[in-house]
């Protein structure tokens, strides 16, 4: 044993120090992952995603859903979303509109179809609420006096956005969180944000 360590030119003291450092680092990682990351709960997941508690464990970070998405609405979550959620798929409505409710994925969600694990599942679109869109009136063109209710025009749910007095009114409980209105919002910066509030997902 001593000969072996000698051949590595490492002293007993250094060896023990390395082991201790490794253990300390692992412990630290575990502690960090136990800290509930506020960002983690704000992730908008693809439409067929299982509940957040099971999602990170079931997702193998293969990225196939990104390739399958016809509108490129799915992007990878970064490390700022928490270690556990890093490299898992999330919906970025600025990148593309999710067409699960109306469009190319209304019959069959492509991301769920090609997901090799059961992190994304083929579910009925009526069961899904990915999140809720929120309006910032200070950035909205209609509230600045322009002729614009593009969000209402593009919304695939008939009653989720209505227009009253030439201004959009959002009905959060009807919103399915597809992000179509966010994608098409012509304001710069966008007046709309998609947030993971009121989500409805399948349980694992």
């Amino acid at each position: 044993m001593t000969e072996c360590l000698n051949s590595l030119h490492i002293t007993r003291r250094e060896f023990l120090k390395l082991i201790a450092e490794g253990a300390a680092a692992l412990g630290l990682f575990k502690i960090i992952s136990l800290i509930p990351s506020p960002a983690q709960t704000n992730l908008v997941r693809p439409p067929g995603a299982v509940v957040e508690e099971s999602f990170n464990a079931l997702c193998v970070r293969c990225g196939i859903c990104l390739e399958a998405c016809p509108t490129k609405a799915i992007v990878l979550a970064g490390y700022e979303e928490g270690l556990e959620a890093a490299n898992t798929p999330k919906i970025d409505a600025y990148s593309g509109p999710c067409e699960f409710y109306s469009g190319r994925c209304s019959r069959e969600m492509k991301c769920s179809k090609y997901c090799p694990t059961s992190a994304l599942r083929l579910v009925n679109k009526g069961q899904v609420k990915m999140g809720t869109v929120e309006l910032d009136q200070s950035k909205c063109l209609a509230f600045m006096g322009q002729e614009c209710v593009v969000c209402k025009e593009k919304c695939p749910v008939p009653t989720a956005i209505t227009s009253i007095n030439r201004r959009p009114v959002f009905h959060g409980e009807q919103c399915v969180g597809c992000g179509t209105c966010v994608y098409y919002c012509p304001a710069s910066p966008k007046a709309l944000t998609l947030k993971a509030t009121g989500v409805r997902r399948v349980s694992a």
């Binding site: 209402k152 593009k154 227009s163």
Partner: protein
């Protein structure tokens, strides 16, 4: 020091010289090849070919639910003088259907689009059906609406403009817009034919979406966004001065009433309208739509009078067409 070794001074001079030459030639190449604002008007912009005694001709063909749609289209074109007034042999024709999204009764009937394309081909034109959808992927929306297959069946080409390169053209008479991005297919065509459906547009101001608004689909999505920031009605009128359809065929077999552009009630009207004047057809279309709504008991008190629609009047002011009913000759035909 050997003689082939470069002195510091010579090295710096060489590097400096090469940098200057590269900079100047790069600048010249950029100037030669950079995308320029095209100041010439598109080739299709021409005075209305469908006039009689200085008045814009407009046909309204009314059928019944059993009438063949293709017959109605032919009759409507025949009533104003036929498609050969604008299409002749060798002309490049672009037919622009209004395909906003994949919802039912949003786009014109595929039979109408296909029949217009077929007639233009019969008159000797090379026909391209082109669109850039504002509410979804163009190729998907055109396929779902059945326009792609119907048009290909008569032998015309379909082009999804969102996949094309963009060019920037000047809008010399524009009030708000001074330049606009469009596509080479639209800029280079000899004849532009607009094929919209007669629809109410309820957001944000109660208005209509017929031919003038259809020209929002020959610009890329980024431009549609820009228009909403700049005052939409005036931008629609400005775009129509450079993208001015030579012929408009309005599908009103089913009109979308009460609301729109995609969430209104489809009401059977069995009518096809045609004109060379996009402003006149928008005006008369708006009038017919309001009459239809009144017949069906849809409250119209919120709607502006058809003579008071902002983009129609703005386009008339810019000389795109006439919004004076006295300058429009309506040819009505009833098929039964």
């Amino acid at each position: 020091m050997s003689s082939n070794k470069m002195s510091r001074r010579k090295f710096i001079a060489t590097v400096g010289g090469v940098a200057v030459v590269a900079g100047v030639s790069g600048g010249i190449l950029y100037e030669v090849f950079r995308p320029k604002l095209i100041t010439e008007l598109p080739r299709h912009v021409a005075p209305n070919a469908y006039t009689q005694d200085g008045k814009s001709l407009l046909s309204i063909v009314k059928g019944t639910s059993d009438t063949n749609v293709e017959t109605m289209v032919r009759e409507a074109l025949d009533a104003i003088g036929g498609i050969d007034r604008v299409v002749s042999s060798g002309k490049r024709v672009v037919v622009k259907p209004a395909v906003l999204n994949n919802q039912p009764y949003v786009a014109p009937d595929p039979h109408v689009v296909a029949e217009v394309a077929r007639l233009a081909m019969e008159a000797g034109g090379t026909v391209v059906v082109a669109e850039c959808s504002g509410g979804g992927d163009t190729s998907y929306c055109m396929q779902v609406q059945g326009i792609t297959s119907a048009v290909q069946a008569v032998g015309a080409t379909v082009r999804y403009l969102n996949t094309e390169s963009q060019i920037q053209i000047a809008v010399p008479n524009g009030v708000t817009l001074h330049d606009v991005k469009t596509f080479p297919t639209i800029y280079d065509c000899d004849v532009l034919i607009s094929v919209p459906r007669l629809k109410r547009h309820f957001s944000p101001t109660p208005t209509v979406t017929i031919s003038l608004k259809n020209m929002m689909g020959v610009v890329p999505l980024s431009e549609m966004n820009r228009f909403h920031n700049m005052g939409l009605s005036q931008c629609i009128a400005d775009v129509n001065t450079v993208m001015k359809p030579n012929l408009t065929v309005v599908d009103a077999t089913y009109a979308m009433a009460r609301s729109g552009p995609d969430d209104g009630d489809p009401i059977e009207m069995d009518t096809i309208m045609a004109s060379g004047d996009p402003v006149a057809i928008d005006l008369i279309g708006a009038q017919k739509l309001m009459e239809l709504e009144q017949q069906h008991g849809i409250p119209t008190s919120d709607y502006p009078d058809y003579t008071n629609i902002a983009h129609i009047n703005a386009a008339a002011t810019l000389g795109v067409g006439t919004n004076n009913p006295d300058n429009i000759t309506i040819v009505e035909r009833n098929l039964s």
